[in-house]
Symmetry: C2
Subunit: 147 residues, 2 copies
């Protein structure tokens, strides 16, 4: 095993751990989300809408950190599945409001058990999970060169 450049050892790379852990957790969600015919990114968007109804695509994008090129098709799928409706702002036709349907609203209570079920699948103590989340959130704001 070559080690001329130990800094390039995969095991030393925080970034790979991040990449792998993210996909790992998404996989853990899938069995639960599949029951409601949802993907993980769709679930994220619903989490956002359950907090605040009638948001603009732009605002959802800010919250989820996704742009319209990802959101528009995703929202169309949610619309197709009867969970949201989309409506242009009559004041400013550029903007597009996204509303939950009754079916979309009713899914909130059904999904309320998902976080606790996810916790059960992790042996990690809650304090460590909180610590992990704090470190991740710090990482998001600490890069020198803002976007």
């Amino acid at each position: 095993m070559s080690d001329k450049h130990p800094e390039l050892n995969l095991d030393n790379q925080l970034c790979f751990s991040l990449y792998a852990a993210s996909r790992h957790i998404t996989r853990l969600y899938q069995p639960m989300l599949k029951q409601h015919n949802l993907t993980y990114p769709q679930y994220i968007v619903l989490l956002i809408l359950w907090q605040k109804e009638g948001m603009l695509v732009k605002d959802i994008g800010e919250r989820a950190q996704l742009k319209s090129n990802t959101l528009t098709p995703l929202l169309k799928r949610l619309e197709q599945n009867g969970l949201v409706t989309r409506q242009r702002d009559s004041e400013d036709e550029r903007q597009c409001y996204v509303y939950l349907t009754e079916q979309g609203k009713s899914l909130e209570s059904v999904c309320a058990c998902i976080p606790s079920q996810m916790l059960k699948q992790t042996e990690m103590p809650v304090e460590k999970l909180i610590e992990l989340k704090q470190l991740l959130d710090q990482l998001m704001v600490t890069e020198v060169h803002g976007k």
Copy 2:
């Protein structure tokens, strides 16, 4: 803002932090990788091959936690770009070895500066980054129900 189900608040979701942070870091890599015409997953595969030449697709997949349905097209692109070659094992024709080309090998030294450049972009102290990595690696092995 509805809060009937605080457990569904996006801000309380470790999983979203993980998802967002992973994409965030990948975006930070892009300017550096683009110079070498690489994507982040391609870079991961090269990291693996720089450690150990002539691996099977299966072994690369185990290391990167990706299956052939993702790896095969990715490896074909690396082959197209002259960084690797693929060759069936003559002993066992099911298996496929992946070798670095000279160009692929020479990229290692060129990329050796990438990790330190990434570190520079993060204001987070190294100890915290190490802590974060340890927590992420723990998360990967702690779910009760094995794959």
